[in-house]
C-alpha cells in the first residue's frame, strides 16, 4: 500500500499541473433562472421522494433546488474553513516536514479557492451564504485522538461533498455553471481524498491500539454522532422557508425520520462507512 509520504510528491505534481483560479474559471454573469432551471439534481434534493416533495409543482421543485444548492455550497464552504485552519497547524511538524508539508500547501491553496468559488456563487446568485450553526465545546482527547478526529471530519465533509459532486458534474439537466463547479471541486477533492484516507489510516494504526476499550468506544460513539450530525446540514429549515415552504423545522424533522431519506443517507455514506470500518475507526454500520 502506498504511504502518505510516497503519495505526497505525486499529488504535488498533479496539483501543479492543474493550477486554476476562480476568476479565470468562472463567469458569475451567467444567468440562472430560479424556478426554471434545475440547480441541483432532483434526486439529491433533501426531501426528494417524500410526500412533501411530490406535492410540489415542478416550478416549486426547481425553486427548491436553487436554495438547496446554495445551502450545499454554504456548508461545504464552512466545512472547509476549519479544515484549512487545521491543515495549517499541522504543517512543519516533525512528522509532516518535507513532502507532506509541501503537499499540504497545495491542499490549503485549493481549499481556499473552493471557499472563494462557493462564496462567489452564493453571494452573486442568492445574495448570501447560509450561516452555520455550529459551536465547538471543549473535549478531552486520548493520545492522537485530536488529529484522528480532525482527519475524520475532513474526510466526512469531503466524501459526502464528493458524492454530490460526482452525481452532478455530468448531469445535463442542471445548470451548466453548477455542473462545472461540481466538476472543478471533484478534480481537486479526488487528490485530497486519496491523501486524507492514507494519512488517517496511518494515524489510526499508530494510535488506536494504545487506547483503552473505553477510549475507543467513546471515540467511535463520537464518530457516529458526528457523521449523523453532518447529514443534518443538508436539511436546513432556512432553505425550505426561502423556497416558500411553511414550517421549515417540521420539514427537516420529517425528512430526517423519513425512510426514503434515511435510505438515501445510508447509500451515500456507504463508501465512507466501509473505509471507517476497514480502518477500525468504526466497528459496525451506524443507523441513519
Amino acid at each position: 500500500m502506498t504511504t502518505a509520504l510516497e503519495l505526497a510528491p505525486r499529488l504535488t505534481n498533479a496539483s501543479l499541473k492543474k493550477v486554476w483560479t476562480v476568476d479565470e474559471t468562472f463567469d458569475w454573469s451567467e444567468k440562472i433562472e430560479v424556478g426554471t432551471d434545475w440547480a441541483m439534481a432532483p434526486e439529491l434534493i433533501s426531501i426528494y421522494g417524500t410526500e412533501t416533495y411530490e406535492a410540489l409543482t415542478e416550478e416549486e421543485q426547481k425553486r427548491l433546488s436553487f436554495y438547496e444548492i446554495v445551502n450545499f455550497f454554504s456548508f461545504v464552504l464552512y466545512g472547509e474553513r476549519p479544515l484549512i485552519s487545521g491543515l495549517m497547524t499541522r504543517m512543519y511538524r516533525k512528522n509532516t516536514q518535507g513532502p507532506l508539508t509541501e503537499y499540504l500547501h497545495h491542499f490549503v491553496d485549493e481549499e481556499n479557492k473552493h471557499m472563494m468559488m462557493f462564496n462567489g456563487f452564493c453571494e452573486h446568485y442568492a445574495g448570501k451564504v447560509y450561516p452555520e450553526k455550529k459551536i465547538v465545546l471543549p473535549r478531552e482527547y486520548a493520545a492522537g485522538e485530536e488529529d484522528i478526529s480532525f482527519f475524520c471530519k475532513v474526510l466526512i465533509v469531503e466524501e459526502l461533498g464528493d458524492y454530490y459532486n460526482l452525481a452532478m458534474m455530468s448531469d445535463r439537466r442542471i445548470h451548466p455553471l453548477v455542473a462545472k463547479m461540481n466538476r472543478v471541486h471533484h478534480v481537486d477533492e479526488a487528490r485530497h481524498l486519496a491523501f486524507g484516507r492514507e494519512l488517517l489510516r496511518e494515524h489510526a494504526s499508530d494510535y488506536i491500539d494504545g487506547w483503552t476499550d473505553e477510549e475507543l468506544a467513546r471515540f467511535r460513539g463520537w464518530l457516529v454522532d458526528y457523521l449523523i450530525s453532518s447529514w443534518g446540514d443538508f436539511y436546513n429549515p432556512a432553505v425550505y422557508k426561502d423556497a416558500g415552504l411553511p414550517n421549515g423545522y417540521q420539514i427537516r424533522k420529517m425528512a430526517l425520520e423519513h425512510d426514503t431519506c434515511r435510505t438515501f443517507r445510508e447509500n451515500a455514506s456507504a463508501k465512507l462507512v466501509d473505509y471507517f470500518i476497514e480502518a477500525r475507526l468504526l466497528e459496525e454500520r451506524p443507523s441513519f
Binding site: 450561516p131 452555520e132 450553526k133 455550529k134 459551536i135 465547538v136 465545546l137 473535549r139 454522532d225 458526528y226 450530525s229 443534518g232 429549515p237 432556512a238 421549515g248 423545522y249 417540521q250 427537516r252
Partner: protein
Amino acid sequence: MDQKTIRDELRGWILERSGATPDRLERDDQPILDEGLLTSLDVVEFILFIESIRKEEVDIEAIEPEVFNSIDALVEAFFAKAPAPMESALG
C-alpha cells in the same frame, strides 16, 4: 409563547435528546453542559429548535457557549422579550 412554556419546551427537548431522567434538570439553574446533557453536536440541533420556537434566526457569532449553561441562561439569551406567564395571561 410565554416564558414558562418556553422553559418547559427547552427542558423537554434537552431531556428527550439526552435520554436523561427529569431529576437531572429539575431546576432552571441546573448546569446543562457541565452535566453532559448536551454535546457540541446536540447544540447544532438545539439551535434549530430554539429558532423554531423563537420564530427568528440565531446569530451564532453573537453568542458564547456559556448561554447553553442553564435554562435560565438560555431564556435570557434567546427569549428575553417573551412575556412572563402573568403578563401573558393579562394579554
